[in-house]
Symmetry: C2
Subunit: 156 residues, 2 copies
Amino acid sequence: MLKKIKILMPDPVKFKFVKEGLEYYLKRIEPFVLVDTIFPKIKTKVSNVSIKLKKEEEAIKKYILDKDYLIVLDEKGKAFKSIELAERLKKLIQNYTYITFIIGGPDGLSENLKKQAKEIWSLSPLTLNHEIALLVFIEALYRSFTIIKGIPYHRE
Amino acid sequence: MLKKIKILMPDPVKFKFVKEGLEYYLKRIEPFVLVDTIFPKIKTKVSNVSIKLKKEEEAIKKYILDKDYLIVLDEKGKAFKSIELAERLKKLIQNYTYITFIIGGPDGLSENLKKQAKEIWSLSPLTLNHEIALLVFIEALYRSFTIIKGIPYHRE
């Protein structure tokens, strides 16, 4: 039975509007499950993308525990309708205690992290700004819980 | 050659964070094209969904002109990768002067409006909160223009 959902994304959220939207949905989800959002900061500025992804991978890995069921969000992952996402999540909730989602930074995620994941989910075939992707995901998570619990979706 | 993009969505945006995000991306798009966002207000509160959609349709139709090339955004529409979206948009820009996008409200859009559209595009197979969909779309529009114009995508 699920105890905690963790969302990992490299670097703190920069857009104020994304922070606000995230807070709004985290509050909405609060009655259903404990959600931790962790944004490991990459201190060194690196221009080489593969070195940057490696550094982000290292920073993120510090927050991944052996017991975590790992799911990566990537545009090339499995696509879901909302009802399908809720069904998949419902199964996972019954079978796992800790579910951890990873969202890539502006340059995506290292292949290593993707390989380590049990599942790869896609929010859209479009490339989304990773902070917008975080917003889309947290809203989808909230919507999933309203479907799973059979309660109305709050719109304001 | 494109002169204006219009985005129509029933009812003014409620989420402050969506308003802020929208403003941010509208400013980013400004150098490329004139974008009008119009949120026709539905005054009467209607609980019956089909009557509500009919009223929203009437309110939206007031802003659709004969010259507009009409595109509806709907989860069941055609899906695009970012590069495909940019390519499609590039063609439309060359061939049409006025492109008008319609995003449904919380209950979607009337079948009538969908039938009237020349194309239906999907941002995600997931049902998105319509205000979040607006944000995703405006970011996708900005990204498309950076691809079409071959200029860097601004991240902050």
